[in-house]
Symmetry: C2
Subunit: 131 residues, 2 copies
């Protein structure tokens, strides 16, 4: 069970780097070493965040990425939602055939409650908390 994957990890570091850098934009090349991942990979990740409206992007020479919101308004749950997709408790939720048995459904209800609380926790962590 992995709570967050590498994409989210790298993204978090990059966002922290950008929040600290007192510049209008930061290029991937500038972040590469600090984040510890190859340029093409990081670019791909940040592009997703740009599409999701979490980052601004400036093309062309001297361009780069910048936070589209203040650090306290970017939540870990945002990154997880964009880079990992929605949480899947178990396959009961999607394959109804498996859910005819009472025991299994009880499990599902229990896990749904767990999921709600887990989401609330990663919702409470913002980029500001990581500075």
């Amino acid at each position: 069970m992995k709570l967050i994957n590498r994409d989210v990890d790298y993204a978090a570091r990059a966002l922290v780097f950008m929040a600290r850098a007192n510049k209008p934009t930061v290029s991937v090349a500038q972040m590469e070493a600090s984040v510890g991942v190859s340029r093409p990979f990081l670019r791909k990740t940040l592009q997703k965040l740009h599409k999701a409206g979490i980052l601004q992007a400036v093309k062309g020479k001297g361009g780069g990425f910048a936070l589209a919101r203040t650090p306290q308004n970017i939540r870990l749950s945002d990154l997880v939602a964009v880079l990992q997709g929605p949480m899947k408790l178990n396959d009961c939720l999607f394959d109804k055939k498996l859910c005819q048995h009472h025991g299994a459904c009880l499990l599902r209800h229990k896990m749904a409650a767990v999921e709600t609380r887990l989401l609330a926790e990663i919702d409470a962590i913002t980029v500001k908390d990581l500075l």
Copy 2:
């Protein structure tokens, strides 16, 4: 992010089935239909639980599996631990090289706290709760 996988799901159903059945042992063949998974697969899963001491196993004709403890003493966290392995927050924990940056470490500490609470939650759910 998947909180529990199919193995755990199937295992939970099988354990509930065994807890309900008022018999010394229950064979995989008897559980197959109710759990909704093929015999060989379920057997493999239950063998792991046997090795882990969660189930008793009786070989030979008329044999089968049985709970090794009372339902309230078998926790969802036990199943997760055996069938999914330990939780990995992110790779920071295992690849120290990635952990030189303060931001990343803050993330790790935050996630460690989340993990602790999540484990406490699945620790609180027992087979008895699923009956």
